[in-house]
């Protein structure tokens, strides 16, 4: 038994081959290596032996990871495509395009600083004058333009009746994450941003009440490509009480708190395609004032080190 075992072990130790000094322990290339056991003992006929195997071009599925088309010149891209036998891309497309919303907020409204922060009894309140819409000539002109298409349009009615209800319905649809349903209350441009942000999250939102009645603050009208194709954008000021809880993919609280409602002051932009007979008012975006900081900083909940409380 022992002799058989020793025979087997001795097979592993090939005479004449020694382990070389291994300087580096990593699998990166090193100048000292263990001698290979997979080499033929006679190097004389290596070339002929190599000819036995018929070479095959093996695809490399990971070669494009190192490519950066933005940094590659046109010549390089063309040569690479020629290598692969790909024909150049055709630029023109023969597909009908439907413009149903604009790509951005036109002449965004600049909210006054400190809006909504001063209480009625404070000394700051009278200083923060609420500029009425009638005083804003451009907005009134735009409202008249809207009335050409929609005779019953009235900024006051729109704000109090339609704006808040669209806002609430949009949030309730957002909780369901139904893209088509959200799309009825929201323009395509905003829809993309919403769906991107909703990815892998659960939202629980509740509308408590309106602290102040919704007001129309800004109206603008824009024509896209042709003079007849008109879009209208209305910015509404909403001061509401809401509770929001955002949970991540695993059901852990990421942001907010469902139990504590908060006062929310927002400037929401509604858009409508006036030239379109079936156009409806939909949320197009929100205005984040420059004095608020650089955009909205989404700070997820993080663990904080618990310091020992000193006994009194």
């Amino acid at each position: 038994m022992l002799s058989v075992l020793s025979q087997r072990i001795s097979q592993w130790i090939v005479p004449g081959v020694q382990a070389g000094f291994v300087r580096s322990l990593t699998n990166k290339k090193s100048p000292y290596q263990i001698k290979a056991h997979n080499k033929h003992w006679n190097p004389k006929f290596r070339k002929l032996r190599g000819l036995k195997v018929i070479k095959v071009d093996l695809p490399n599925f990971h070669e494009n990871e190192s490519w950066k088309p933005s940094e590659m010149s046109g010549e390089e891209i063309r040569s690479k495509m020629k290598e692969k036998g790909i024909q150049p891309v055709r630029n023109w497309q023969e597909k009908p395009l439907e413009l149903s919303c604009t790509g951005d907020i036109v002449e965004p409204y600049i909210p006054p600083e400190g809006d909504g922060k001063a209480s009625i009894i404070s000394t700051d309140f009278p200083k923060q004058k609420i500029i009425r819409l009638e005083k804003k000539s451009r907005s009134m002109w735009a409202a008249r333009k809207i009335r050409q298409f929609d005779e019953e349009f009235d900024p006051y009615n729109f704000a109090t009746q339609e704006a808040t209800s669209i806002y609430i319905k949009m949030h309730e649809a957002m909780m369901t994450k139904d893209e088509y349903k959200i799309g009825t209350y929201v323009t395509e441009k905003a829809l993309l941003e919403i769906m991107e942000n909703l990815d892998c999250k659960t939202i629980r939102w509740k509308f408590m009440e309106s602290i102040e009645p919704t007001r129309v603050v800004h109206i603008r009208v824009i024509d896209v490509i042709s003079k007849d194709n008109i879009f209208a954008q209305i910015t509404c000021r909403l001061h509401t009480k809401q509770s929001l809880g955002i949970y991540d993919r695993f059901g852990r609280l990421l942001y907010g708190n469902e139990l504590t409602p908060k006062d929310v002051l927002e400037y929401v932009v509604f858009e409508r395609h006036l030239s379109n007979l079936y156009g409806s008012w939909r949320i197009h975006g929100k205005i984040i004032p420059s004095w608020k900081g650089v955009g909205f900083e989404f700070q997820p909940i993080r663990t904080v080190a618990v310091t020992e409380q000193k006994s009194l």
Partner: protein, 220 residues
């Protein structure tokens, strides 16, 4: 459900998500059905978009769990990541995949660096990518608070070549490709990934228990 079939689903009035991220918002947002009728030089897509090979594994990352109730224990985060169609034998890669199982992520990355195999590099890169993804996309707070819950390989495509033998004989040569799948879970690794072999005292107790359970058939 492949990535391409997801893209072709008919959403009438909506710009497809896959196409919007690279676009700069212009004056007009255009309705366009997703089109890729012409071939393009393929570049690394978002999250290493993979159109060939296994599609199911990263779909686990899209699974959304309902919020935990106040009494429930918080659910640990997990991340499924893979590296597909690597030119390496899956059977050889399996050895490295086995090594890494049940290890803490930093320990796994460190250990795998010293394995003299081509597969070690593959595993190492995948683990590093997975750890980054965990922090950036899956709300994992501490990048070291992860351990390797699952690590396994799959067979990729096999391209068959040919080699000559003596006396006009021909032999087949298999150029194998492998897939490597890994799942990282948040938390500290378990003490034993596999049920351990019982030690001496435990074996004795088991034996005693066994002997005590012996019964004569038909007796009370």
């Amino acid at each position: 459900m492949s990535a391409t079939s997801m893209m072709n689903r008919h959403w009438p009035r909506v710009l497809h998500r896959f196409y919007q991220l690279d676009r700069v918002p212009t004056l007009s947002s255009i309705h366009v059905h997703p089109i890729s009728t012409t071939a393009k030089l393929e570049t690394k897509g978002r999250e290493g978009m993979n159109t060939q090979g296994p599609q199911g594994w990263p779909l686990y990352n899209k699974q959304v769990y309902p919020p935990t109730e106040p009494g429930e224990k918080p659910r640990p985060a997990f991340i499924c990541h893979m590296k597909v169609n690597v030119k390496y034998s899956p059977l050889k890669l399996w050895y490295v995949a086995c090594l890494v199982r049940g290890m803490q992520i930093d320990e796994a990355i460190r250990q795998v660096e010293y394995i003299k195999k081509k597969g070690a590099n593959i595993v190492r890169e995948t683990l590093i990518e997975a750890r980054e993804l965990a922090v950036q996309k899956h709300n994992v707070e501490f990048r070291s608070n992860l351990w390797v819950a699952e690590s396994f390989t799959g067979k990729g495509i096999v391209i068959k070549g040919v080699r000559k033998h003596a006396r006009g004989r021909i032999g087949a040569v298999h150029y194998r490709y492998a897939h490597y799948f890994v799942r990282l879970e948040e938390g500290s690794p378990p003490d034993h990934y596999y049920t351990p072999k019982p030690d001496g005292p435990q074996m004795l107790l088991d034996w005693i228990k066994e002997r005590r359970e012996l019964k004569i058939e038909g007796s009370y």
